[in-house]
Symmetry: C2
Subunit: 438 residues, 2 copies
């Protein structure tokens, strides 16, 4: 079988019956006409019902497999390769940014000759894909790892935090390219692990890959780099396309951001606060008082305890799930209760067993917006009596990450108070009724 | 100790040292003055730092416990009792509504003489609390049960559905008062159990109890009754205060509604669609094509399988939670994955074990808005190969309820296709990018 990246299912079957590879010049006879051209690779998310040719006139054509009568090879093509264009002249007086890769679509680029998507990760390649960056910052890049973000683990957070610590003294800002699925969890993790860092650390992703006309990869990356090198602030942020259509990018606090849509470009939202800044046309508009830049020295606490679970309550919830965690040596449980922070009375015994085993049990709300208030109803007060720790307006996901961090970095006697103390903006005592940016 | 409803902590301690009860005339000497009056009960959500008297001049005064020097009883008072005012004249030509109670603040009323909150649940009492209802409908009431909504279980849904079936033939609409914590789950449950019912069934709650000036109880109840008796539609809905300040109440489809704030009056939102109607000043504005009213006959399927779990995925998630469910005889698992419907590769074995044991495993997204698309990335395709059932744009909470319903009412061979078939608006193939009402 030839080299047929991206093809699968019906289209792969059709092509693999012939000895053709991507790049070959082939002739396809189909219902409605004949097509001669160079076989293009397919992107991973493409369907399996078409094969795609680049015709001599430069146009790409997709041919439905079910219409194809025959495929034949005319000549072998050159394998698609990517030669980076000449490096633009970089101004040595520009601020420095370190761009760290973890995987995800933001670091991909398209080869316009073949249509192939390549991971673009050298500084040279990034400049070639997003020429605006050459005027904005001197870039150095490092691929810390390359995984789908759903496979990120707390030990990946540690590795990433340590990479940031290494870079922090020598650059004006750090940008981290990250898959969007778990970007908000990683942002929360770094907000705690890198608490006190003197420069901005900006996570950035893309909801659409760079080869789609609607891609937000370039504008998100330019804005993240702009914020990382030119904003007067420090701390951990997420920069993603804002809700408006005017090309502005919202900057969210790393502990207060959530992916609230599976596919929209403006999927990321600040919860219980507004975005702390916007970047548009490389201009930064700060919307909140944020920690200033400061010296390079700080004490990073990069460890995370993995034996912590986030458990969502629902009608019919069986406390056996809590029991299973206790039995398996868990050290912390974050509950996602209903409303102001409730679970059914059926859970009380299991919770008591957990807390009396010195397992931290904390409460957040599945409402997502708002805050738990456990003194209002008797259910809340009873849970407080069982030792459940109320976590104010903290996002459930942030609470999970914070508990992992607190358990790994503080003694038992300090853990409860650290959980409830605001460290990196995760608890906001004011504006209790803010729901979302207007 | 006397009868001291609502008092707790410091205020209860201060009062219980004397032999006083609510309703007694007492004399309180405190820093700053002496107060003589009738001891009022406290509401459940009140603080524990004040005792409250109704003075002779009719004003209520709260006295801080820490300022109190002495408390003495002057005379025993009449216990607070509530005598409903005379029943308003009800027009026999008005449409009929059955109002079912389950617990929750909507059915409470305040006794203005004593300040006590009473559950108001006879028709007479409802008319007296909300006089507008007398011009709107002939009311009959029934308390099906009286529990905090966090203690609702699938068997409560069955009982409630059966109560609706009994009423349906004799009334123009049904209104159900429900605590807000799990109202959306119950709405989804009834949407399936009562599929095909010929009249509107409207769930209604209140984010603030009736004794607070900002209470939404009356306007929500009037609007729910209006929609139940006067709208031309059938099916299950939730009527709650809309986001605007103009007193309009949004009507949400029972399968597409979520409590998205712990405390705001407009906490309930339609997800992936817009509200299907608004009620303002007892006028109904329909915004969607909904099933028309029809005959009283329909086949209710009111059972729910309790051995179904909703499991939220997160970085560091340990598949032991899935294993525990399999071991404990679970019949279905709804995953709340990341993004388009992903979990880490670490979960594959546990999922495979579940599906090969004929346990239904389905996928929803923790993004809440949007829809799972499991053919886009390899992770999604691998999960499909393991037998995971993608549930389009269904809310995770609705998916849980639907799986409980499908497992209890259909044979194994039909269950997967029933899950993926739109029954009551829970799957919306259109408007994939709607996030929320404008």
């Amino acid at each position: 079988m030839g080299d047929l990246p991206g093809y699968r299912g019906a289209s792969l079957k059709a092509l693999s019956q012939q000895d053709v590879s991507v790049g070959d010049i082939i002739l396809v006879k189909a219902k409605g006409g004949e097509f001669k051209g160079s076989l293009l690779p397919r992107y991973e998310y493409a369907d399996d019902k078409h094969i795609v040719l680049k015709l001599d006139n430069g146009y790409n054509v997709g041919i439905e497999v079910s219409n194809i009568q025959s495929i034949s090879k005319i000549s072998e093509g050159k394998k698609p390769t990517f030669t980076p264009p000449p490096l633009p002249k970089i101004d040595n007086s520009l601020p420095k940014v370190s761009i760290l890769g973890t995987g995800g679509t933001i670091a991909s680029r398209i080869d316009y000759r073949t249509g192939a998507v390549h991971p673009a990760f050298s500084a040279e390649e990034l400049y070639s894909v997003i020429p605006e960056l050459a005027k904005c910052a001197q870039i150095e890049t490092e691929a810390v790892f390359n995984i789908y973000s759903e496979n990120m683990t707390p030990s990946n957070w540690t590795k990433l935090a340590e990479a940031c610590v290494k870079k922090a003294a020598n650059v004006d800002g750090i940008v981290i390219g990250h898959g969007t699925d778990t970007m908000a969890y990683t942002a929360a993790a770094l907000s705690f692990a890198l608490h006190g860092i003197g420069i901005p650390v900006v996570l950035v992703g893309s909801q659409r890959s760079t080869d789609r006309p609607s891609s937000d990869a370039a504008i998100n990356m330019i804005s993240a780099v702009t914020f990382a090198v030119r904003s007067p602030v420090s701390g951990v942020y997420v920069a993603m396309h804002a809700g408006t259509d005017d090309g502005s990018v919202a900057v969210h606090l790393g502990t207060k951001v959530r992916k609230n849509h599976t596919s929209r470009r403006d999927a990321f939202e600040s919860v219980n606060i507004s975005p702390v800044a916007y970047v548009k046309d490389q201009k930064i508009e700060l919307k909140a008082k944020l920690p200033a830049r400061k010296g390079a020295k700080f004490e990073a606490r990069t460890k995370f305890e993995e034996k912590v679970a986030l458990v969502k309550f629902y009608p019919g919830f069986d406390p056996l799930l809590i029991d299973a965690l206790v039995k398996n040596g868990y050290k912390g449980i974050v509950l996602e209760g209903t409303g102001l922070g409730h679970v059914s009375t059926k859970c009380y015994d299991a919770i008591q067993k957990a807390t009396s085993n010195e397992i931290l049990v904390a409460m957040t709300s599945q409402c997502i917006w708002g805050r738990v208030r456990m003194t209002v109803y008797s259910t809340g007060r009873e849970l407080l009596n069982l030792g459940v720790i109320p976590l104010a307006d903290m996002l459930p996901e942030t609470a999970l990450v914070k508990m992992m961090w607190v358990l790994a970095n503080f003694k038992y006697g300090e853990q409860k108070s650290m959980l409830q103390r605001n460290i990196s903006g995760e608890i906001n005592e004011r504006s209790p009724l803010v729901r979302r940016p207007a």
